[in-house]
């Protein structure tokens, strides 16, 4: 994905702004919201990436939850250090994704989304029912918070939210770099052509199935890492963190922003997070509003906010050039 020049400066500016954000925002409530938003962006990028091969994964929160549970189980029961577990928390969801993919990726299109929904329900049930491993409805707590001690530098994660914020930010930046790099590379082209015309691609000798599987595994790996940050941040891993509607929120964000580009996915997730804060007092009618927005966006803004604003800018440009052109033509007369 090649960005125009303006975008390059803009990304640098945004990253600088995000690095300096702890200086501006002090309220812990907003800070924790921003932390969760960053983790959701990781999930949203996964949904976007899997969309390019023509599927929707509504079970991203399950892989997120698996990552969180991995950290919780290994820190509480085995007492391993967090930094050793962190990569494992990505690998276990990835293995789960391989199993899910091997079983279900033979199915095309919307039906796969149903399978992810069924998988989501099944895993939530498993988290609830397997009390010995997952701790039942109450979940596993307290998840110990990580500590960094290198060369006299001591960062205690339990003291404030700022280290979590930077950890999440680093994860988002790495995820963005990986996805942007992939989507500019040959692999990204292959994925896009899987989504557009899988039969044609299969005829060129590329195994469509394994490409889909790789795509699913990569997105679930990052979802697991996001979960690994979430568990110590909330000091709990419980089935309450994993719900079907959470997955739909993420999908809604990606659609709202514009599913045809990773930037759209990020913008949409930010929008949904703002929407979530606005709707906080009206928990009972949340699905109503969410559902209506989802349906209306799909009907009237198929390319999302990003595509819509691009169209709008193009229209405005047309209008301004016409306005400029008119007086000039008058002058010649």
């Amino acid at each position: 994905m090649k960005l125009p020049r303006l975008w390059n400066y803009l990304t640098v500016l945004i990253v600088l702004f995000l690095v300096a954000l702890p200086l501006i925002v002090h309220s812990p409530r907003y800070f924790s919201l921003i932390d969760v938003l960053l983790l959701n962006i990781v999930l949203a990028l996964g949904v976007y990436s899997f969309w390019t091969v023509g599927y929707l994964n509504a079970a991203q929160p399950v892989f997120f939850g698996l990552g969180a549970y991995t950290v919780a189980i290994l820190t509480i029961k085995v007492h391993w250090p967090f930094w050793l577990i962190f990569p494992i928390a990505g690998i276990i969801p990835a293995i789960m994704a391989v199993i899910l993919g091997l079983i279900a990726l033979k199915i095309r299109g919307a039906s796969f989304m149903f399978i992810t929904i069924a998988f989501c329900e099944l895993m939530i049930w498993l988290f609830d029912a397997w009390k010995g491993l997952f701790g039942g409805v109450g979940g596993l707590y307290p998840v110990p918070q990580p500590l960094i001690k290198i060369f006299g530098l001591r960062i205690d994660f339990s003291a404030s939210m700022i280290p979590y914020y930077y950890l999440a930010l680093i994860l988002v930046v790495i995820t963005c770099l990986v996805y942007f790099k992939i989507h500019g590379s040959l692999l990204g082209r292959v994925w896009q052509s899987v989504g557009k015309n899988a039969d044609l691609l299969a005829n060129t000798g590329i195994s469509v199935f394994s490409q889909k599987l790789i795509c699913l595994v990569v997105s679930c790996f990052f979802a697991g890492l996001a979960g690994a940050i979430y568990a110590p941040f909330m000091t709990i891993a419980s089935p309450g963190e994993v719900s079907l509607w959470q997955g739909i929120w993420i999908v809604l964000g990606v659609l709202l922003g514009g599913i045809y580009s990773p930037i759209g996915a990020i913008i949409g997730t930010v929008f949904v997070a703002i929407l979530n804060v606005l709707l906080e007092g009206y928990a009972s009618i949340q699905p109503l509003i969410l559902g209506l927005i989802l349906t209306l966006v799909l009907l009237f803004m198929p390319s999302g906010i990003l595509g819509f604003s691009k169209k709008l800018i193009a229209k405005l440009k047309d209008a301004t050039t016409k306005k400029v052109a008119q007086p000039e033509s008058k002058k010649t007369f």
């Binding site: 599927y55 079983i103 199915i107 299109g109 149903f114 029912a129 009972s284 209506l292 989802l294």
Partner: protein, 286 residues
């Protein structure tokens, strides 16, 4: 002892299987023709359930009115879905309209929650009481379910096999362009399919209401089961939905008897096995 349990769970499973069959038939009909999932189909049943509650439970009108009212209301809902969501999005693949119905499903659930509250409502059964045959007992409230759903399945078969529209529906599962070239109006066929599918959902809702409870989220569990049946039977296959519905209903019932709460896992495990060994479904062709 064991034989008695087996026969008992078979008897219990039958009415549940027939509800699954009705539900899955509507779902598979829509999936077969439009190649999309209707995630709001569970809410069609929920709407029919609430209409049954209103007609029979609240206003005390005769039971015969419930299916008529439910079928009309749910058909209108189905036509609204077709005209509002599916027809405008007909050229956008399967995923996006499916997601839009997901949104609509959430909106309908919350709408029902606001109107009726979250408490489950009971609807008085048409016939109550039990019949004992030896040591096996049979609840008479299941009789209308069995008769009603068998009647609906029979009517569906008559409609699909014996009428012009039914043949057109079968043909448009294979190739809609050819059907259009033969002089059939595709837009009208689509509406008819929606009405048929809505009537099936309405029947499922009306029959389910007396043997279970009516509440805003009753559609979700049913939808999962319905999709499971469709996956098991093969997408778009009517005999597949019949076979799949019976298999899942009986697996559920036997699982409940012999495995307790683990039956949930058992049913999904069965679907996973089907997906591994016959990804096109038990009776699917693709």
């Amino acid at each position: 002892m064991e034989l008695r349990l087996i026969i008992q769970s078979f008897v219990n499973g039958i009415s549940l299987s027939l509800i699954y069959v009705l539900f899955a038939l509507g779902l598979t009909l829509i999936m077969g023709i439009f190649d999309i999932c209707n995630f709001a189909y569970g809410e069609f049943v929920m709407v029919a359930g609430f209409i049954t509650y209103l007609v029979v439970g609240k206003w005390g009108l005769p039971y015969v009115l419930a299916p008529i009212a439910a079928m009309i209301a749910v058909s209108l809902l189905g036509i609204a879905f077709e005209k509002g969501i599916f027809y405008p999005m007909r050229n956008r693949g399967g995923l996006e309209p499916g997601l839009a119905t997901f949104g609509a499903s959430g909106a309908l659930q919350t709408g029902a929650l606001l109107l009726f509250g979250g408490n489950p409502f009971g609807v008085p059964p048409i016939i109550s009481g039990n019949v004992h045959i030896g040591s096996i007992f049979f609840a008479l409230e299941n009789v209308p379910v069995i008769i009603g759903s068998l009647l609906m399945v029979f009517l569906l078969f008559l409609f699909v096999q014996r009428t012009r529209f039914g043949l057109a529906i079968k043909a448009s599962q294979q190739d809609q362009e050819i059907v259009a070239l033969m002089g059939m109006d595709i837009a009208r066929i689509r509406v008819v399919v929606w009405i048929v599918a809505s009537c099936l959902a309405a029947a499922a809702g009306v029959l389910l209401a007396p043997i279970s409870y009516v509440y805003p989220f009753m559609g979700t569990g049913l939808l999962l089961k319905g999709f499971a049946v469709v996956i098991m039977g093969g997408f778009g296959s009517i005999p597949g939905a019949l076979a799949g519905g019976f298999v899942l209903g009986l697996v559920d019932s036997f699982g409940m008897t012999f495995l307790g709460t683990y039956s949930y896992m058992f049913a999904f495990g069965f679907i996973i096995l089907v997906l591994i060994f016959r990804p096109q479904g038990l009776l699917g062709k693709r």
